[in-house]
């Protein structure tokens, strides 16, 4: 039974949660309950004590007279009434000296069954001893208070209370609290258990089932994902895994199909290879027979080569004869060299003479070159003169153009502008003059207005006087008169202001006309000055034209000069060249011709010797030609044999060609095979990878 429970506990996460929660809440609840009970009891005891103190106090107050008078009957009555109050076990009153004033019957609450049972066994009549016994046995809470009268202690009231009721109440509260806690624990456990089963156990079980299916190779089922919490994410992960597995297994299946088809192809290729091999062997047999034929032909060739050896001996003797004639030729060649040496000495002499002549000619040519250089320098400076003259001409032209275009035109414009300014200023002066006349006429009008205003004011004053003299009847008229007078005053004021303004205008227009007159003078001065400037410019223009003409003529003259100088230098160059040629020719002719004559005589003798040597050589040549004929015959035979060899070798070549073609086919096939094998290797790789993934 316990073992089964343990097993269930181990397998259920819900039960684990419940157990942990229950333990924690139970401990917290028990600790809380104990704390509450202690607080409660403390409070209740305090309340009981204060209640007792109050009671004792009142008893003391009520029984002060009786205690003072030592009247036990009254005290007995009071104590008897007091002892019957709730929770009271005993009450006794003592006087100042400690003597008990209440009797043993009245002092104890005999309605309390515990007290009654205790007192029934006691024989003593001493109230204090009895009270001590009760307190000890029943764990009473004792309270005592001194009774004072006029500062002196006259007695003491002592009371004992039972703790039983308070304890009972405290226990009831503890029981209630514990009961409530147990209820809360059960409710929480139930809730946690249900939640765990719904939110953890069920999805976990489903995931587990799906995982079992995957392990068995069934990928059709997937987890139903209801939430986004950790278990939801677990379900999603499983689903993703299933999808991955599906694609992997699909690729593995495809790869295996490919491998099947590939193996078929490989089989075909291998058949083709075997056929090719058979053909190859036939071709090789043919090649072997043609090689045999070739062997026979080669034997014939060997025989012919022996004959060739014999004829080569004849050739060697002829060659010996030829060598002897060659010796003779060598002798003539030595005399030829001596005559050539003579010729070379003559040539050396000739070269020395030529050297001297060359030196003289160099001196002459350097002089001519100097002349040419100085002519060049002159021409360069003349050219500079020409270019400078051209530049100055162009500058003079530019000056003239500037003076024409900018200067004269701007001066003309200036003069025009000055004239316009003059006329505008004259007009402005006229306008200002008219303005002045107008303002003066306004002034005269203003004096008239002033006069009228003055008269109006006066009339109004007189009217006011008359109105005042008319008394009550003239009052209305007086008002009108006053207003007219006011108007007249205002008119007078504004007239004065206008008068001031007019005066200012007159002053200003006078100033303006004066300024205009001054401006006119300045403008006339300006016009005169600009005309003078125009005159000066025209003069400058004339001078610029003159200078341009002069520089043009200079440039023309210098250009002609340069041409002349060029001709001079060319003539000098020609003279130089001619002297060189003349010098060279005379020297060569003089000494060279004699030496050449001597050398030609020697050369004639040498040619005679050469002729005789040539005759001997011809003889040797005949022997050589006979040997050469024999060699020719042998060579013909060799040729024939070689023809046979050629036919055999043709066959060999053909056979070899076929072998080659077959080998080519074989290599192509082998390449195809290789490709196929490579594809198979890659497929097998992918298959291997897929399979490895599946394992993981």
């Amino acid at each position: 039974m316990i073992g089964a429970l343990k097993e269930k506990f181990r397998n259920s996460i819900g039960l684990k949660f419940v157990a942990a929660l229950t333990a924690v809440i139970s401990v917290l609840m028990i600790v809380g309950t104990i704390f509450v009970a202690r607080m409660l009891m403390k409070g209740q005891y305090g309340a009981l004590e204060s209640h007792g103190l109050e009671l004792a106090h009142y008893l003391g107050k009520a029984g002060t007279d009786a205690i003072f008078m030592k009247d036990p009957a009254t005290i007995e009555g009071l104590v008897f009434d007091a002892v019957r109050s709730r929770d009271m076990l005993y009450t006794h009153v003592q006087d100042g000296s400690g003597a008990v004033l209440s009797g043993p019957f009245a002092s104890f609450n005999r309605e309390n069954p515990d007290v009654k049972a205790l007192l029934a066994n006691e024989k003593s009549d001493d109230v204090v001893t009895l009270a001590a016994t009760v307190r000890k046995k029943l764990d009473a809470l004792e309270v005592s208070i001194d009774i004072n009268y006029q500062g002196a202690k006259i007695g003491r009231v002592t009371m004992g209370f039972s703790r039983t009721r308070i304890k009972k109440e405290a226990w009831t509260i503890i029981a209630l609290l514990l009961g409530t806690s147990v209820g809360i624990v059960f409710a929480l456990s139930a809730v946690v258990h249900i939640m765990a089963r719904k939110m953890i156990v069920a999805p976990a079980a489903e995931a587990e089932a799906v995982a079992w299916n995957i392990s068995e190779g069934n990928l059709t089922q997937s987890v139903r994902v209801r939430s986004m919490d950790e278990f939801g994410m677990l379900g999603r992960g499983l689903n993703r895994m299933i999808v991955g597995l599906k694609t992997m297994i699909g690729s593995v299946r495809d790869a295996s199909l490919h491998v099947g088809s590939m193996s078929g192809q490989v089989r075909d290729i291998s058949e083709k290879i075997t056929n090719g091999g058979r053909e190859q062997s036939e071709a090789v047999e043919e090649a072997a027979s043609s090689v045999n034929e070739m062997h026979f032909a080669l034997k014939e060739i060997a025989g012919n080569v022996e004959n060739l050896h014999a004829s080569s001996e004849h050739t060697s003797s002829a060659v010996l004869e030829m060598a002897a004639s060659v010796d003779e030729v060598a002798g003539t060649m030595s005399s030829l060299t001596t005559s050539i040496e003579d010729t070379s000495t003559a040539i050396a002499q000739m070269s020395a003479a030529i050297k001297q002549t060359a030196e003289n000619v160099e001196i002459l040519s350097s002089a001519a070159e100097e002349t040419a250089a100085s002519a060049n320098e002159i021409s360069v400076s003349v050219r500079e003169v020409e270019s400078n003259a051209k530049q100055s001409a162009s500058l003079a032209e530019a000056v003239a153009a500037d003076a024409q275009q900018l200067g004269v035109r701007s001066i003309e414009k200036t003069i025009d502008g000055m004239k316009k300014i003059e006329s505008a200023t004259r007009q402005a002066a006229d306008v200002v003059g008219r303005l002045r006349g107008r303002s003066e006429s306004i002034g005269s009008i203003l004096t008239v207005i002033e006069d009228i205003t003055d008269q109006t004011g006066l009339l109004a004053l007189n009217a006011a006087i008359l109105a005042a003299q008319a008394g009550e009847h003239g009052k209305g008229f007086a008002v009108v008169a006053a207003e007219i007078r006011e108007l007249a005053n205002r008119t007078a004021l504004s007239t004065q202001e206008i008068g001031k303004l007019i005066t200012a205008v007159q002053d200003e227009s006078r100033e303006a006309s004066e300024a205009m007159t001054g401006g006119l003078v300045v403008v006339e001065e300006g016009a005169r000055l600009s005309q003078a400037a125009g005159e000066a410019l025209r003069k400058i223009l004339g001078r610029a034209d003159q200078s341009r003409d002069m520089s043009r003529s200079i440039s023309r003259a210098s250009a002609e000069q340069a041409k002349g100088i060029k001709q001079v230098s060319e003539a000098v160059d020609k003279i130089n060249e001619m002297t060189h040629q003349i010098a060279r020719a005379t020297h060569e002719q003089r000494s060279g011709s004699e030496q050449i004559a001597k050398a030609s005589e020697k050369m004639r003798e040498i040619t005679r010797f050469v002729k005789s040597a040539m005759v001997e050589q011809a003889k040797g040549g005949k022997g050589i030609s006979g040997a050469v004929e024999e060699i020719n015959a042998k060579v013909g035979m060799v040729n024939r044999a070689a023809g046979e060899v050629r036919a055999g070798s043709d066959l060999v070549v053909k056979a070899m060609d076929r072998i080659k073609s077959i080998v080519k086919v074989n290599t192509v096939l082998a390449v195809g095979l290789n490709d196929t094998v490579e594809i198979m290797a890659s497929l097998s790789d992918s298959l291997k990878k897929g399979v490895e993934k599946f394992k993981i």
């Binding site: 006066l458 004053l461 007189n462 006011a464 006087i465 003299q469």
Partner: protein, 171 residues
């Protein structure tokens, strides 16, 4: 309360024509002013009394003219001639049979206005200020910050002068 207001309304006033001679402002009772004019041509007469400048012809009436500047013994420097006025005063000359309205022309520097002065704002001129020859001052009128010297037209000329004038008129 109503009665008091009525008393205040019926307060006695004096209307004067204010004019200026020199720096001072003077007032003449409105009932003694006939007219204010721009200065007319003054014609001096032979054997005229010395205090009279001459006579003017005002719409046919021959009226003697007195220059107030001379009268008040002020310098004769003329101020703005455009503002110069001639006041024609009534009752200036002593009543005599056949003398008409007894008009007298007064040449003043300028004439300001007709002013109404409550009588309680008029104080009699201090005796010390009057002097012997200035008994024509009847009082000093206060209008705001202005102080107006009130003149009595009937005493502006002395008795001798009036008599001389009356005599001249008769001639």
């Amino acid at each position: 309360m109503g009665k008091e207001k009525k008393v205040a309304v019926i307060e006695e006033t004096v209307q004067v024509v204010s004019f200026q001679v020199g720096p001072e402002e003077y007032g003449l009772d409105i009932n003694s002013v006939a007219e204010v004019l721009r200065p007319l041509k003054i014609t001096p007469l032979p054997r005229m009394p010395r205090f009279v400048e001459g006579v003017i012809n005002l719409r046919g009436a021959i009226i003697p003219v007195v220059d107030m500047r001379k009268r008040f013994e002020l310098s004769e420097i003329k101020n703005d001639s455009k503002k110069m006025r001639m006041m024609i005063a009534k009752n200036a000359v002593a009543a005599s049979p056949g003398a008409g309205h007894q008009l007298l022309g007064l040449v003043v520097d300028s004439v300001q206005d007709v002013i109404t002065i409550p009588k309680k704002h008029i104080e009699s001129a201090p005796e010390a200020a009057k002097g012997t020859h200035a008994d024509f001052i009847t009082g000093m009128g206060k209008v705001g910050s202005r102080l107006i010297i009130l003149l009595d037209i009937t005493t502006i000329l002395s008795r001798e002068e009036r008599a001389a004038l009356a005599e001249a008129g008769r001639e």
